[in-house]
């Protein structure tokens, strides 16, 4: 395991290639999938809908969280005065 | 007459009455004080054990008078020696019999002077006290009721404290003055009932309302003084304070109960309409007594006086329970009579034990003995808590039943429960003065007198207190068996009361007296 990680650390381009390849594979596979089992209109009619949804979801969560954190919710480590 | 009685094959009640008298006679001819002590202890113990036969053989179904005996006494006036017990009296008889041996034990070393005479007085007292509770002939009742005064007078007057003369004379005069009119009422009733003194014969007659009220007033004076109800109570602190321990115990545990017993046995059944008419006054006097007793007890520095005034408050609860005239109230009152006998008797014994050591009844002198008398204060704590009606102790059960009955009484009358609410400060005051005493005795203050020489109570004293504690907890945790004994009689009493009330009111309200 350790070696595997170190190997990828040493070869970041390879790692990136595998990563994007996998993503591309998933998207392509999704275009071939029968979407008729989808629950809603968007699933049925937007190609690779879940990819878009997943990506946007993450963006929303990440940026909302950041904004939330910066909006004053984050206090010093010893805020409650251990 | 016989339809009211259930005769027994063995004259057990007479045995209970006369055994102490026999002991007194025997002691007259015994010179050794030690033997006298043993003889009296022996006889009272036998009486105590025999009294338990009553419990065993008591029929809880019937409302008749059981273990009855009858003999002609003064034939020309139809005065008979009739005795018998029912649910109202049984517990009192048994309590009297059970307490006496402890009174003798408590006097074992307390009384130093003229022991023999003291014991004879106690024996005569026992005869009279048991007799009062079992007498079914009014003259027999009255004779024993009054005869009790002499030995009690002597007990206070000879073996009492510094102000014994004042106390004993006051006790005697007060109680006798109260009962003089009782005699007149008795004779009037005799005259009204075709010349019969048999108590059950006198009950549930529809006397004219005016006469009933007069008779009630006579009864009330006699019994209220004995209870004692506010404002007829002032003999009590004096007598209690000066009496020797055994005398205080007898006074508190038994003599006071005769007043409330009198209300239950005579006032309610004989003059029901007057009872209904005058009930509000008695109830508010009871409330006044509860609160007044509480306040005065709080101000006392003399422990015996404190307990004496607390008795005024507690007996106020009993009269309250009796005169709300419902089942919970009356049963609670009867139970509370026993409870008060047990707890207050025990408290007086406790004070007596302190007195034997410090020769003072002042709270300040007894302050902080808890440090040196751990066993003693354990007992004292239990009895004090019982006295203030702590849950789990006997008084709680009694006071709770009475208060519940009072609420019911108010609610049935369809008004705000003023009466029950008015009684509650009394319960709070009870906590205040009892805890004040307890705090002083156990811890005291910074300036406690030196008591390092005081010894804790000895085995004899533990033997005296332990049974009281036993009953405190037994009645507190499981009052059922006791209530079973009194249930039938109380139910019958109340049934008759409601039945005869309506009749007579419609008939006699307008009748002149």
């Amino acid at each position: 395991m350790k070696q595997l990680i170190d190997f990828f650390k040493d070869h970041p381009t390879l790692a990136r290639l595998i990563f994007f390849g996998t993503i591309g594979g998933v998207v392509i596979w999704s275009l071939t999938t029968d979407t008729s089992h989808g629950h809603s209109w968007v699933e049925k009619h937007i190609p690779a809908f879940w990819s878009i949804f997943g990506f946007i979801s993450c963006l929303v969560l990440i940026f909302f969280a950041r904004w939330f954190s910066d909006s004053g919710i984050r206090k010093g480590d010893d805020y409650y005065g251990d | 007459m016989d339809q009211h009685l259930v005769f027994s094959s063995f004259p057990i009640l007479s045995t209970l009455i006369f055994l102490p008298l026999v002991a007194a006679l025997i002691m007259l001819f015994v010179n050794s004080e030690r033997y006298c002590k043993y003889i009296s202890l022996c006889f009272t113990s036998v009486v105590a054990v025999l009294s338990l036969v009553l419990i065993v053989g008591f029929d809880t179904e019937t409302t008749k008078f059981q273990f009855a005996e009858k003999a002609v006494w003064i034939s020309s006036l139809d005065i008979n020696y009739v005795v018998g017990i029912d649910g109202i009296s049984i517990l009192l008889v048994v309590m009297t019999a059970l307490i006496m041996p402890f009174c003798i034990l408590a006097s074992w070393s307390y009384i130093k002077l003229r022991v023999k005479a003291f014991l004879i007085c106690l024996m005569v007292m026992e005869t009279a006290m048991i007799g009062v509770f079992v007498a079914l002939d009014f003259i027999l009742f009255y004779v024993l009721w009054e005869a009790m005064l002499i030995p009690m007078y002597l007990i206070i007057g000879i073996w009492g404290g510094p102000r014994k003369i004042y106390a004993s004379v006051k006790f005697f005069l007060y109680t006798l003055a109260g009962s003089i009119l009782l005699l007149v009422a008795i004779i009037w009733l005799y005259w009204q009932n075709e010349y019969s003194f048999f108590i059950p014969d006198m009950m549930w007659h529809h006397y004219a309302l005016g006469s009933q009220i007069l008779v009630f007033i006579a009864f009330f004076l006699a019994f209220a003084i004995k209870v004692p109800m506010f404002p007829f109570h002032t003999w009590l602190p004096a007598a209690h304070v000066e009496a020797p321990t055994a005398g205080s115990v007898i006074l508190a545990s038994i003599l006071l109960k005769m007043g409330t017993y009198g209300f239950l046995r005579f006032a309610l059944p004989i003059v029901p309409d007057a009872t209904y008419q005058l009930m509000p006054f008695v109830l508010w006097l009871s409330i006044a007594g509860i609160i007044y007793g509480g306040f005065t007890a709080l101000a006392q520095n003399d422990m015996k006086k404190l307990i004496a005034y607390s008795s005024v408050g507690h007996m106020g609860f009993v009269t309250l329970g009796i005169f709300i005239l419902n089942k919970q109230g009356i049963e609670g009152a009867i139970l509370q009579m026993i409870n008060h006998g047990v707890t207050t008797g025990a408290l007086f014994l406790c004070v007596g034990m302190i007195y034997e050591r410090t020769h003072s009844r002042e709270l300040s002198m007894a302050a902080g003995v808890g440090k040196y008398m751990p066993i003693f204060v354990t007992f004292l704590t239990f009895f004090s808590l019982a006295s203030l009606g702590f849950p789990g102790t006997n008084s709680f059960v009694g006071e709770f039943m009475i208060l519940a009955g009072t609420f019911q009484f108010d609610i049935e009358a369809g008004r705000f429960p003023w009466l029950a609410l008015a009684a509650i400060p009394g319960a709070l005051l009870a906590a205040a003065y009892m805890l004040r005493m307890l705090q002083r005795i156990i811890w005291g203050g910074v300036d406690n007198p030196d008591q390092s020489w005081i010894k804790d109570i000895n085995a004899r004293e533990i033997v005296i207190l332990a049974p009281f504690l036993f009953f405190v907890l037994w009645i507190g945790l499981s009052p059922g068996p006791f209530l079973d004994l009194i249930d039938a009689s109380v139910t019958d009493l109340l049934q008759n009361l409601t039945m005869h009330r309506t009749h007579s009111l419609s008939l006699n309200l307008m009748a002149p007296y």
């Binding site: - | 006036l77 009054e146 005869a147 003369i165 005697f172 009119l181």
Partner: protein, 472 residues
């Protein structure tokens, strides 16, 4: 002759004592003689109890009623003689004479209970009174007090006045009915109630007996004489004449029937006044004999109250009460005499610590007082109860309540005596108490009698009813 035997014995005794008084008998001899004579008298009255007959032209009636009273009088005298011991209150010199007069007085009282004719009544009453007039001042002067002479005079003057009233009344009765025999007067007087003269006559005749009994308003002599006379004399005066007076009063009251309502009311008033007067005044007293004197007034009121029901039951109750009263009073006087061996008066404070000096006497005294106070189970209570019940039956509700109130008042002074005897320990000067075997046994006897009579009154009441029923 046999009918007159008790009186004869007394006469002879008086003569013997007269002879003895001529010599100088020793204290002991005299006492033995007197004891023998009284004992003999008691025995004789006992044997004569069933005699019946009339003497002196039917002016003197001997029946169970009179014989019973004679027996009671004899018994009471015997008791007084026994417990007065060697009569320390009377001077050694005149002791024989004293006893002679005592027997003379006794003779008068004995005759009184048998008299059924006005003149006989008068004579016997005077005989008994004159003897007492002399006995009262015969007290040995001790320097500390000289009341005895004064009280003797008072007694005499008062007695004379009462006698005057009585004679006056008797003349009225004789004038109205033309007879001096009670058996004639009684039926004829019952038609004359509307005549003031008759009522006045009756009242005035009764005055003599009120005087003997110490009833309001003829009671004023009582405390002074009780205090002034020697203890022995007081004991005698307190118990014995009252028995005789009650006996005659019962006979006389037959004259007054319920029809004479006004008369009854007046008598009732006297009775209630006696009770209140006696009890209230007693509260303030310091001398034991004086207190007992006042208490005697109130008890006399009670006895009259019993008589006023005018029925057999009432009479027998009154008789029962009188016997009981005699026993109770004698019990108390026994203690007084025993507690004062020097013949002095007994002050209240002298009672202090009596229970330490003589437990038995103290107990006797206390029980006697409790009985007088009307505490159960003694005869005082039972007697009062009977009287009150009977009065209630007659409808005297208010007097019953007043009588009951009196009981409450009376308790205080009785109790204060008990209190001193029992509850105070310090006795500064401890006067010797003479409690010889005779006193002790007598005390026990009296206490037992009081208690027995109180607890088992039936026999006594039945007896009284039988006796009175036969007469009235």
């Amino acid at each position: 002759m046999l009918l007159f035997l008790p009186e004869l014995i007394i006469l002879i005794s008086a003569l013997i004592l007269f002879l003895v008084s001529l010599g100088t008998p020793s204290e002991k001899t005299l006492r033995n003689i007197v004891l023998c004579l009284t004992g003999l008298l008691l025995l004789v009255t006992l044997t004569c109890i069933n005699n019946k007959g009339t003497l002196f032209f039917a002016a003197y009636q001997i029946d169970l009623y009179s014989q019973l009273f004679k027996l009671l009088i004899a018994a009471a005298t015997f008791i007084v003689i026994v417990f007065s011991g060697n009569t320390p209150g009377i001077g050694q010199r005149i002791r024989a004479e004293y006893y002679m007069f005592l027997f003379t007085g006794l003779l008068g009282l004995m005759m009184l209970v048998s008299s059924v004719e006005l003149l006989a009544i008068f004579i016997s009453l005077e005989l008994s009174s004159f003897a007492l007039y002399i006995m009262v001042p015969m007290r040995q002067s001790s320097g500390a007090h000289d009341y005895h002479l004064e009280s003797g005079i008072k007694y005499l003057l008062f007695g004379v006045m009462a006698t005057g009233f009585m004679l006056f009344g008797m003349s009225y009765l004789f004038g109205l009915t033309g007879s001096t025999y009670l058996k004639d007067i009684i039926p004829s007087i019952s038609y004359l109630y509307n005549q003031p003269a008759a009522v006045t006559g009756i009242i005035m005749v009764m005055a003599g007996f009120f005087y003997k009994l110490g009833l309001f308003p003829f009671h004023f002599w009582v405390p002074d004489i009780y205090e002034g006379a020697a203890n022995e004399t007081t004991s005698f005066v307190a118990a014995i004449p009252k028995l005789a007076a009650v006996a005659l009063l019962i006979r006389l009251l037959a004259m007054v029937s319920v029809d004479g309502q006004i008369l009854v009311n007046l008598l009732l008033l006297c009775s209630i006044c006696s009770m209140f007067y006696g009890n209230l005044s007693a509260l303030a007293q310091k001398d034991v004999k004086r207190i007992l004197g006042y208490s005697g007034i109130s008890h006399a009121g009670f006895i009259l109250f019993g008589l006023l029901t005018f029925n057999l039951e009432g009479y027998s109750n009154a008789l029962y009460y009188t016997i009981g009263y005699a026993a109770m009073t004698l019990t108390c006087f026994l203690t007084i005499c025993a507690a004062t061996p020097n013949g002095n008066n007994l002050k209240l404070e002298d009672l202090k610590g009596l229970h330490g000096r003589s437990p038995l006497l103290a107990l006797t005294f206390a029980l006697g007082l409790f009985s007088l106070a009307g505490i159960p189970p003694f005869v005082g209570f039972t007697g009062k109860l009977m009287i009150l019940i009977n009065a209630f039956k007659q409808g005297y509700v208010v007097p019953v309540i007043l009588a009951a109130l009196n009981t409450a008042i009376a308790i205080y002074y009785y109790l204060s005596m008990v209190r001193l005897a029992y509850c105070s320990d310090d006795s500064k000067e401890s006067v010797m108490v003479s409690d010889g075997w005779s006193n002790k046994s007598l005390a026990l006897l009296l206490v037992l009698f009081i208690i027995t009579m109180g607890i088992f009154p039936t026999w006594f009441l039945d007896m009284a009813a039988t006796v009175i029923g036969a007469t009235v």
